[in-house]
């Protein structure tokens, strides 16, 4: 595919203003949706509703920030949903085992660290299979998708795993609390997104990720340690999943075999709606953030109104996704 671009007048020669406007596609989509939403139900624009939506968007959003790296590098991770379930389950089991006694602050910290370790470990596994084992990312993570969920089901014997009460109370501020008036999940999401953007655009690693996605061979010849960069990429994805799970557990205090089902599709959709190409090579974190907000807003709007048969909710989502993608196409070759 590399040679093809040679002939296309590089878009950078287009007046920069216009090209910048064109790349605002997802943002315009989000704005349009918000206008429609407000027209349908004025409660949409209330602070409390927007904060609900943003808080929810933070799960998928944080995972999608990781997915942005994976996709830019030319890979894919289908396992994020079941990884989240497994991390949630294991984390709860560990915390429960460590202690109902005392305040639980230490126990929660240990649980969190374990969660991050499991996420990073899962990513290491994926990265190793993909980079060194040279197996297609789709296959590796399709396989682990089944494996993680099965292990969780096994651990929970098919039921749910719940955090015991004292711990649950001690932990719950992580989801329900606020920092300077902003719900903690939103704060974490913002930090992850900013960090992600910084890493992607302003670090060596980020540059390498883009280079590998654009042309792996060239990156290798330019002395980039392709395998290592790939492994790190899947580890970042794993850590993002773990971070999202850290916020998820205090919300419901439990994990079950249905936790995180289809999150992978939502995360990938957020990335792609945000303007990152599935083929890899280039993309942007802010687009992903907008993509996640957009997806979650659609659900929210549907819940806030009753103009459409509940049976058709999924159809509305589908139509909006396609329309937004249409609005911001064009820039792709």
């Amino acid at each position: 595919m590399t040679e093809s671009r040679a002939e296309i007048p590089a878009r950078s020669t287009r007046p920069p203003l216009l090209s910048r406007l064109g790349s605002l596609g997802p943002l315009l989509g989000l704005l349009a949706l918000m206008i429609v939403a407000t027209a349908l139900n004025s409660d949409f624009l209330t602070v409390s509703n927007l904060s609900n939506v943003l808080t929810r968007a933070s799960f998928i959003g944080i995972i999608a920030v990781g997915a942005t790296f994976v996709i830019i590098s030319g890979g894919i991770d289908l396992s994020v949903g079941s990884m989240a379930a497994l991390i949630a389950g294991s984390m709860i089991l560990i915390m429960n085992a460590l202690g109902g006694d005392g305040g639980g602050g230490g126990v929660i910290a240990i649980g969190m660290l374990c969660a991050l370790a499991i996420g990073a470990g899962a990513g290491l596994l994926h990265g190793t299979f993909i980079a060194r084992g040279r197996i297609e990312p789709f296959i590796v993570t399709l396989g682990t998708l089944g494996i993680y969920r099965a292990v969780l089901t096994y651990l929970s014997e098919g039921g749910s795993i719940s955090l015991n009460n004292t711990l649950s109370d001690a932990y719950s501020p992580v989801y329900y609390g606020k920092l300077l008036g902003v719900p903690i999940p939103i704060v974490v999401f913002a930090v992850v997104a900013l960090l992600g953007g910084l890493i992607l655009n302003r670090t060596r690693y980020g540059r390498y990720v883009q280079a590998i996605g654009s042309n792996e061979q060239v990156a290798r010849y330019a002395a980039v340690d392709v395998n290592r960069v790939k492994v790190i990429t899947y580890m970042i994805q794993g850590i993002c999943v773990a971070l999202a799970t850290l916020l998820y557990v205090p919300r419901l205090g439990s994990a079950s075999p249905s936790t995180g089902i289809l999150w992978e599709l939502e995360a990938i959709a957020a990335v792609i709606i945000g303007g990152t190409a599935l083929k890899g090579g280039s993309g942007r974190i802010w687009g992903t953030v907008v993509g996640a907000m957009l997806l979650l807003s659609i659900e929210n709007v549907l819940n806030l109104t009753s103009i459409i048969s509940v049976y058709l909710n999924a159809a509305v989502q589908g139509v909006v996704i396609i329309v937004v993608a249409f609005l911001q196409r064009g820039k792709r070759s």
Partner: protein, 295 residues
């Protein structure tokens, strides 16, 4: 006494209630094999209707089962595959989700879905004194869900016309969806008197959403199916969870016991056994509390 092989085909443990089913099926297998040395019980789970149809075919072809106890993923698509086994001489017992053609089954152990809707409707109507605003969180779009919601609606229309159902959205028997849908209901409706969550998994999410919003207008949340955590709340006198309506996953145990008895003692099995959906309140909660079950 000849050797008997009993196949048990159930949905895989993909959420709380099915988790309970799998648990009870495995427990009952141990119990039965101890009780009847000549009986082998094979328990298999399937992730969807298609796989389940494959599975019972395999049970017949390879495991040579004489009896089948099946809790179908879905009613309609499994009707013909079950009928095929019955035609080949397998004794077929269907649990919970009735086949669309009753001729396909030798016996039916029924969970009572319309009953669940009806009992729930009665409780909501009576507790609210026939007046108030109610939101409904539905399950997954399935026949079961329709039966429950239709029965609930019918009770409301006929007996409690003063109750207003504000909206019905799908929450897919899922905690996360329960949380989200309830959050949005709370945004949208300034006054809600009661929530019918139809399933205890959904109710878990609903409770958290209400807690987060700090709303005091909601008088109670009614779930369903009898998850142990919810039964515990009823027992402990939780202010929001004042009752539950059973839809016990251990109906699979009843079905397996009845089938085994009928097969091993060559006695007839009742054509239909209904496991009623009953109201659980603080008074009778202890009877429905199974701490060892995952559900």
């Amino acid at each position: 006494q000849t050797k008997q092989v009993m196949g048990v085909s159930i949905p895989s443990a993909d959420h709380g209630w099915t988790g309970g089913v799998v648990y009870w099926a495995n427990e009952t297998k141990k119990e039965l094999e101890k009780m009847y040395p000549n009986l082998t019980v094979i328990v298999k789970t399937a992730k969807d209707a298609n796989e389940q149809a494959n599975q019972i075919q395999d049970m017949y072809t390879v495991n040579k089962i004489n009896a089948l106890v099946i809790l179908p993923q879905e009613s309609a698509p499994l009707t013909r595959p079950v009928a095929n086994l019955k035609d080949k001489g397998v004794f077929t017992v269907v649990v919970d989700r009735a086949l669309t053609d009753p001729k396909a089954q030798d016996a039916y152990v029924a969970g009572d879905n319309p009953g669940l809707g009806r009992v729930s409707g009665e409780y909501v109507g009576k507790t609210l004194g026939g007046k108030g605003n109610v939101v409904v969180l539905r399950g997954i779009a399935t026949v079961i869900d329709n039966q429950r919601v239709d029965a609930f609606d019918k009770v409301m229309k006929e007996k409690y016309p003063g109750i207003k159902i504000l909206d019905r959205q799908y929450a897919n028997w899922n905690r996360d969806d329960g949380f989200k849908v309830m959050q949005d209901y709370l945004t949208r409706f300034p006054k809600i008197d009661a929530v019918w969550a139809q399933d205890d998994d959904i109710a878990v999410g609903v409770l958290k959403a209400i807690e987060q919003a700090g709303r005091k207008d909601i008088k109670f949340v009614l779930g369903g199916a009898g998850m142990k955590e919810m039964i515990k709340k009823v027992q402990d006198g939780d202010p929001l969870i004042t009752a539950d309506v059973t839809y016990p996953p251990n109906m699979i145990r009843d079905a397996m016991l009845l089938t085994a008895k009928s097969r091993m003692t060559k006695t007839a099995m009742p054509k239909t056994t209904i496991i009623p959906s009953v109201l659980v309140t603080k008074d009778n909660a202890a009877k429905f509390y199974f701490p060892k079950s995952p559900f």
